[in-house]
Amino acid sequence: MPDTMSASKPDQRFEQMVASLRPGRLADGLILPALGIVCFLLAWQFSASRIETSLGLFPGPVQVWEQLKTLGREHVAERTKAEKFYQRQQERNANKLAANPDAAVKWRKYTGKPTFVDQVLTSLVTVAAGFLLANLVAIPLGILCGLSGGVYKAVNPLIQIFKPVSPLAWLPLVTMVVSATYSVSDPMFDKAFLNSAITVALCCLWPTLINTTVGVAGIDRDLVNVSRVMALSPLVHVRKIVIPAAIPMIFTGLRLSLATGWMVLIAAEMLAQNPGLGKFVWDEFQNGSSNSLGRIMVAVLAIGLVGFMLDKLMLTLQKRVSWDKQAVLR
């Protein structure tokens, strides 16, 4: 059926595409952003060629592109090595078991150096964990603060005091506390991972907490009165009225939180030598080869892009969750 349709009717998609490329839209959607990026690249190239550091010239876009490709190749090479290692192990153990079914075989993990891609993934997992941990506390506490003036008055001084604290101040404390309290044999999480995640959580708690409080406290009085007249139980009131009404503000908080968390994480990883992008940057800095600056620049761009994508992700999530499909989100 679709075949006959398309045969009888010429495919209009190309015409539609052309029509959608009206000059105005093209300028807004493509040309102007592209122009901005090109200008930036030119300025970068121009100034980079004039900055002489102890590690050679500051890398321009071309050198950074080269380093990106190198990092990609290193990743592929490392993966191949890992695969080969597991293959050899598999064969060795299989042979052992074939010779003697009761033989004690050892399965080891491949312990190669984490590549750039590995570090990005580690950072992503860590920031996600810290972000989730923070919001498990921040959203319920924010709702409580918004609903009850008493709770708000009790919690507000703590918010004000801890909000401006830098992650670097928390980090030593978190490290000591984690190593003191988290001493399980066969731990589920790496200690370094916990340190980073908890530090991120401590710093990205506040935007969500504050915005949720404001959102909940600002619910239309009439809607609250409707709920009181219906004698809704507190739980139904929160589920059916408070949360939907506060969703836009909660998401504003979540987006600020995630951005903060991502920034904090890089700093924490650098300082604590926890695996992740921050450690990658620090290692390259210590390494001090002629390629180091280029590789760090790749990391800088990656950090920016990931941050941008995380925000887009939250925006998409907000659009899906929000009841007000007409609202303009940016």
Binding site: D220, D222, L223, N225, V226, R228, V229, M230, A231, L232, V236, K240, I241, P244, A245, W323, D324, Q326
Partner: protein, 300 residues
């Protein structure tokens, strides 16, 4: 009028406005019988809404109290459902879900799921909104929203239906339609209704008694005007009915002659009939207090 159903006795309220006290109401007394339709009318800021909120339980009176069927009102509850002026539907719930929220709360034990479903649809049918059950409030007109707001309240089967300027934000034509719907529903179900209005015509058309409030601060009930027009009432026929015209006249006189001079905001009261029913013959004035005025009127 038989026994007292709703009894407002000696109600006064003081608000704390940053250190100083503001007395909004003083010694408000009113008795309503079952099935009665009462309008509260008065100038803006005279405390009409405060009276309604005290009956609803949303405010606590500083002195005096409200007794409904022998029980004192201490907190809000679905037996005193409120229709708010700006409909107050949850914008994230569909029309059906908005009514369902109330029905599931009130009848969660006494009705099965299927019965509740029927009950929700029945109430939406009452206000002619069954066609838009799955629409969000943002997708329907203001008049439709208010219909849904009324359906939500009716669905709670309140002992008293409280309406806070329910049609105030609507255009004249929609308002007339909704007034007719409300009259038909009330005639059918026999609801006890307390309605706040700014609209003199609306008050005369719908009410059994019109409670006219003095200006604040320390507002109270000034006069109570019984409306003995036969039901069902037809707005077109009544437009030139001498008794109707006379009743309007009395309300206007109270608002403008007796209370108007004290307050600058007298323009808030809408004499909506004036432009719409232009060629009204000069009414022959009936002697004040003519007819068998109902007893229960409690002018304080």
């Amino acid at each position: 009028m038989s026994m007292t159903y709703l009894d407002i006795t000696g109600v006064g309220i003081e608000f704390d406005t940053g250190g100083s006290k503001f007395r909004a109401l003083q010694n408000v007394n009113l008795k309503m019988s079952k099935g009665e339709f009462i309008s509260l009318i008065g100038h803006s800021g005279c405390g009409k809404s405060t009276v309604l909120n005290i009956v609803a339980g949303l405010y606590r009176a500083t002195e005096g109290g409200v007794v409904l069927e022998g029980t004192e009102v201490t907190e809000p509850g679905p037996d005193r459902a409120v229709v708010f002026q700006n409909h107050s539907l949850m914008p994230w719930l569909s029309v059906y879900e908005n009514v369902a929220l109330a029905v599931n709360q009130v009848f969660r034990r006494s009705k099965t799921r299927a019965e509740r479903r029927d009950w929700i649809e029945h109430n939406l049918r009452l206000v002619n909104m069954e066609h838009a059950m799955d629409k969000l409030p943002g997708e329907i007109s203001g008049g439709m929203k208010q219909r849904v707001g009324i359906a939500r309240c009716l669905a709670m089967q309140p002992r008293v239906l409280l309406m806070d300027e329910p049609f105030g934000a609507l255009d004249a034509l929609t308002r007339a339609q909704l007034q007719d719907s409300l009259m038909a529903i009330q005639a059918d179900l026999g609801n006890t209704v307390m309605m706040i209005t700014h609209d003199v015509d609306e008050a005369v058309l719908l009410s059994d008694r019109i409670v006219m409030m003095t200006n604040g601060p320390a507002a109270t009930i000034g006069e109570v005007l019984p409306v003995t027009l036969a039901r069902p009432r037809d707005r077109l026929a009544l437009a030139e009915d001498p008794e109707f015209v006379h009743l309007r006249q009395q309300v206007l006189e109270f608002l403008y002659a007796k209370q108007g001079s004290r307050h600058a905001s007298s323009a808030d009261v809408v004499d909506s009939a004036a432009p719409r029913l232009a060629p009204v013959a000069a009414p022959e004035r009936l002697p004040a207090g003519s007819g068998d005025l109902g007893s229960g009127s409690e002018a304080a």
